[in-house]
Symmetry: C2
Subunit: 251 residues, 2 copies
């Protein structure tokens, strides 16, 4: 048994080229409203969105993200902000101190909530015919994003998403590591994970070849090229500047 | 213009009571496969799932999460594992070192990917009529989860989700902070966020009263009660033990 939701998820692709047609304002409002119902840790609602429609600002974000044409070409850019300013003010209203942003638990729970919201936004947008791509590249210079968007203390821009009408040519769905090396039964299976990498290197190589992109690296090479360096090297310092601390705390 | 996806997202609720009916294996496979197509940073696929069907193990997870009946009553529990073991092995195959798990960027990107996957799993499951609730409570004792699921170095259990057939009575959709205090235009607006908290305290109070739960705390009180403490105080230490380090690194 399948359905429209499953089919949409199975066919999901990052869309990096846009037609230039506008995002309808009523669609955008529906996307935001639908995504807002996504779950959030302890109902803290520690995610806020900054919706950028201004083309000059979108171009600035594209530059901050490393000069990404897929960002510059988007009609709308949404920045997902981990927001412990809201919860801190709520705690103050209740006459309590607020410690969570100065803990590893707070940062981890906040980042997971950001991911939840990102997927909800993208799912809603895609259902209305729009295309999106997550943009982690804003973490190349979080300080610049903080200044551009006027983000206060206890908030942090963790990721963004483009939004626009897809160009006529839709990219093919990209294969994933074998399902049994991704979703394991009862216990982690290092053998399956190992075998999955080797099989996926072959699968992805064939897929790139089919796309006419024979020079693209396969999984191992591509992953190594990213993860042999820490490509965004200021996250801890930028978090600290915003009032966060990744540490355990006894109460 | 709305559609089935938007309607599902707008009506989303955490489901904490299950009928006890089984999750069909073909549905579970479809949920896993659909969710796997969710986006992932640099196509690293640094998320693995451990699917628990064994009822004894589910009961153990419920205990680890603090004695949660909603976990013990689930038919299936899925643990979302931040997995830099996979990428590390991929890097080794390519003959490169792997630094990313010893960086703030790696942990943050991994946690965002976990959230993306969580929402994809829940969206797929709900479309097939199942109910879910995210379970951050596994972070109460990550070490116990690591042992129970046999998680190797460079992996970490960040969050889980229950899965089951909802009981007959479906809870009402819970209101959120005002849309204009959640999704802001162009720049963060501290005034809107402040006003939103105050308005939401009233909205949520009315909603609890309508549910016949007049003793439930409103937003400010509830948030303060969580965030005045660091309720899961071992996350940084547990990450370190698994080989992670939350730090900036120059290459």
């Amino acid at each position: 048994m399948s359905n429209a939701v499953i089919q949409q998820l199975l066919n999901r692709r990052s869309i990096r080229q846009f037609s230039g047609e506008p995002v309808r304002e009523e669609d955008l409002q529906l996307i935001l409203k639908a995504a807002q119902q996504a779950p959030t840790s302890v109902n803290g609602q520690q995610v806020s969105l900054i919706v950028t429609r201004d083309k000059d600002t979108i171009r600035k974000i594209a530059e901050i993200a490393g000069g990404q044409p897929q960002v510059a070409g988007a009609e709308v850019f949404i920045t997902l902000v981990m927001d412990f300013n809201r919860t801190s003010e709520a705690a103050a209203l209740a006459g309590e101190k607020h410690l969570i942003e100065r803990s590893a638990e707070g940062i981890v729970a906040g980042a997971v909530d950001i991911g939840i919201m990102l997927q909800a936004l993208q799912t809603a947008a895609e259902s209305l015919g729009y295309g999106t791509t997550p943009i982690g590249g804003i973490r190349r210079d979080p300080g610049a994003m903080i200044e551009l968007l006027g983000l206060p203390a206890k908030t942090f821009p963790l990721v963004g998403t483009t939004l626009g009408v897809p160009a006529a040519t839709r990219p093919q769905v990209k294969p994933r590591v074998p399902l049994d090396s991704f979703a394991m039964n009862e216990r982690y299976d290092t053998g399956k994970v190992s075998a999955g990498i080797r099989q996926y290197d072959v699968t992805l190589r064939q897929w790139w070849d089919e796309q006419g992109l024979g020079t693209m690296p396969t999984y191992s090479t591509s992953t190594a090229s990213y993860y042999k360096t820490v490509y965004f090297p200021t996250i801890a310092a930028d978090l600290t500047r915003q009032g966060f601390l990744f540490a355990d705390q006894a109460d």
